[in-house]
């Protein structure tokens, strides 16, 4: 079981309030991702849940019982750190067995569980090595192994993939998702990589300066961002936000159009601009288009093999049903 409830949880370091009072419900078995820019308090929030930091006020409940003042060991949660935090002086086997040893489990059961975890994570052939003799991806797996053998009620991940190279990151992302499907245990996952957030999450929590900006499924956030911050943060490349006269035409202070929601043409359209840098990815091409009167160039997604070049004139038509409208405070207009 792993239902975690935060009730008016607040955290201040000295006089600096890092997390203003915040409410959040995480259901059993959910894969929840915290995203937000650097320094917004994602790690702090995770560490509050883990019990590695005290809340300044408020209450944390795990499966209905008050865990606010429980020590980390007693909360029944497991954590995977960004630096993996493996014990360098222990072999892989000892690392994975450590939490079980601390729990006073008997050796036969420890061996059974460690071997099980090693098999699941493809670690069997490295089981007697030390962390220093492993690659980044293998270390990551050991850290996960150490977390799963305890059969915790929830897993906490703090940017677990940020030290891996791009290819490995994609692989591990899939492995963690698969693990979640198989174990069906609550997972809370911190990242500032919004691709990870979109692909892995059941529920995304977007944070800014300790505030929850929006909570919802990846598609909800993509389709109906509650404000310009979420709109700009979810989706890659970023949504184009346009202010001024064009926005007023739609009765809004700001309008937003995602790069994928434009029709492009060489003959005519709503807006006309000049192509600046273009990025050819093979499957897609992204054009940065300067439109007179707009503060910033627009980013436009086009098909893979479009024959347009630097300096060419281009006509753009936003998909009318995909125009997001925001008021002067940045809030979504219905």
């Amino acid at each position: 079981m792993g239902r975690i409830t935060l009730d008016k949880v607040r955290k201040a370091f000295g006089d600096v309030e890092v997390i203003p009072p915040l409410d959040l419900r995480i259901e059993d078995g959910e894969f929840v991702v915290f995203v937000g820019p650097s320094g917004c308090g994602k790690s702090t929030l995770l560490r509050l849940i883990a019990g590695l930091e005290d809340v300044t006020s408020g209450e944390i409940r795990i499966d209905g019982t008050d865990a606010t003042h429980l020590s980390p060991a007693k909360r029944g949660l497991a954590m995977v750190f960004q630096s993996y935090a493996l014990y360098p002086h222990m072999t892989v086997r000892k690392n994975i067995a450590f939490p079980l040893k601390m729990a006073g489990m008997d050796q036969a059961e420890i061996d059974r569980r460690v071997d099980g975890a090693a098999k699941v994570l493809n670690l069997s052939s490295y089981i007697d090595r030390r962390p220093g003799q492993l690659s980044g991806g293998q270390r990551q797996r050991v850290a996960i192994g150490r977390a799963i053998v305890r059969e915790p009620s929830a897993f906490l991940f703090d940017e677990p993939l940020s030290n891996l190279d791009a290819a490995l990151r994609v692989g591990m992302r899939l492995e963690i998702s698969e693990l979640h499907k198989r174990l069906a245990t609550t997972m809370i996952y911190v990242t500032h990589d919004q691709v990870e957030a979109m692909t892995m999450a059941d529920k995304i929590v977007v944070l800014r300066a300790g505030h929850i900006e929006q909570v919802g499924s990846p598609l909800e956030l993509y389709r109906t961002p509650r404000n310009t911050f979420v709109a700009g943060f979810i989706g890659s490349p970023k949504m184009n936000l346009i202010e001024g006269a064009e926005a007023e035409k739609h009765g809004a202070h700001t309008i937003g159009v995602r790069p994928e929601h434009f029709q492009i043409s060489t003959e005519g359209g709503t807006w006309t601009g000049t192509i600046g840098v273009s990025e050819h990815l093979g499957s897609d091409t992204f054009f940065h288009v300067t439109v007179p009167g707009f503060a910033e160039p627009l980013t436009i997604r086009a098909g893979g093999e479009v024959d347009l070049h630097y300096g060419d004139t281009i006509h753009l038509t936003p998909d009318a049903s995909q125009i997001h409208r925001f008021d002067a405070k940045g809030l979504r207009l219905p």
Partner: protein
């Protein structure tokens, strides 16, 4: 990483160390403070109260006091200068590719393991003795008049002995620091056209700043309380009486506990001033 749990655990685990050091500092200090206001001369059986500040006035107004301060500073300055400069030189030398580096390092650090009484005795008798010492032999061999080191150049001789003992320590710390210097920095500087001296001044020396601070701090701590070397060699004669040694003479040799205690308190105050200055300077450098 600080929760209420870990903070109170931390306080509990600091407590023994802090408590012991506090007792170790305060109890003798308070007793000494008390003695310093007495006319306390155990040999004569005097133990009279209420000297007030008399002992302090007497201690400070004697010329021996000011001489001893000067001597202490000269000793400290001399040894620090020799060990830091020598240590940098040796560290750079030992960092070069040479044959038998390990053995040379063993030779160089050996004096650090020699107890001060032994090194003082050996230097005094077997090297600096004006008749049978090796230096005397050497001087005679080249036709010079042998020198009685410890009476003609007493302070210099002691500085020499103490520097010999502490040079290895300085060398070791500085060598570790030099070895941690990133060679890319050097290569970059070389690409920028810096010659060997410029590279030393702009890269090596700044890199060593923290280590030099550490060397100065630790050596000052030990040098302020230097005792055996003086006790064995000159017994405080010929202007080698440091403040520490002066207090020792008053308390132990002339058994004037009151006067000596006043001296002790003054030494404590001065040591604290030095400590405060040093900490001010060093504290910054020791910041993470």
């Amino acid at each position: 990483m600080a929760t209420q749990h870990s903070r109170s655990a931390a306080r509990a685990m600091m407590a023994p160390a802090v408590f012991l050091l506090l007792v170790w500092m305060l109890v003798p200090l308070i007793l000494t403070l008390w003695f310093s206001t007495l006319d306390y001369r155990p040999l004569r059986g005097t133990f009279d109260c209420c000297e007030g500040l008399g002992n302090y006035v007497r201690f400070v107004s004697s010329s021996a006091f000011w001489d001893s301060i000067l001597t202490t500073l000269q000793l400290l300055g001399g040894v620090l200068l020799i060990t830091v400069v020598g240590g940098i030189g040796l560290a750079i030398l030992l960092d070069q590719p040479i044959w038998g580096q390990g053995i040379v390092r063993i030779l160089v650090i050996a004096p650090f393991f020699v107890m001060p009484t032994v090194s003082a005795l050996v230097w005094k008798n077997m090297f600096m003795n004006p008749v049978n010492g090796l230096f005397a032999h050497a001087f005679k061999a080249v036709g010079l008049e042998p020198v009685d080191w410890l009476s003609q150049f007493p302070l210099f001789s002691i500085i020499l002995i103490v520097s010999w003992q502490w040079l290895p320590f300085a060398t070791l710390i500085l060598l570790t620091a030099i070895q941690s210097l990133d060679s890319e920095q050097f290569e970059a500087a070389e690409m920028d056209g810096a010659g060997p001296f410029a590279r030393f001044g702009y890269i090596t020396l700044p890199h060593l700043a923290r280590s030099i601070t550490v060397v100065v701090l630790i050596q000052t701590i030990f040098l302020l309380s230097i005792f055996a070397e003086i006790f064995v060699t000159t017994g405080g004669a010929f202007g080698t009486r440091t403040l520490t040694y002066l207090v020792y003479q008053r308390v132990i040799e002339s058994q004037n506990v009151g006067l000596g205690s006043a001296g002790g308190i003054i030494a404590v105050i001065l040591a604290n001033i030095v400590a405060a200055i040093l900490m001010r300077v060093v504290g910054k450098n020791l910041d993470a």
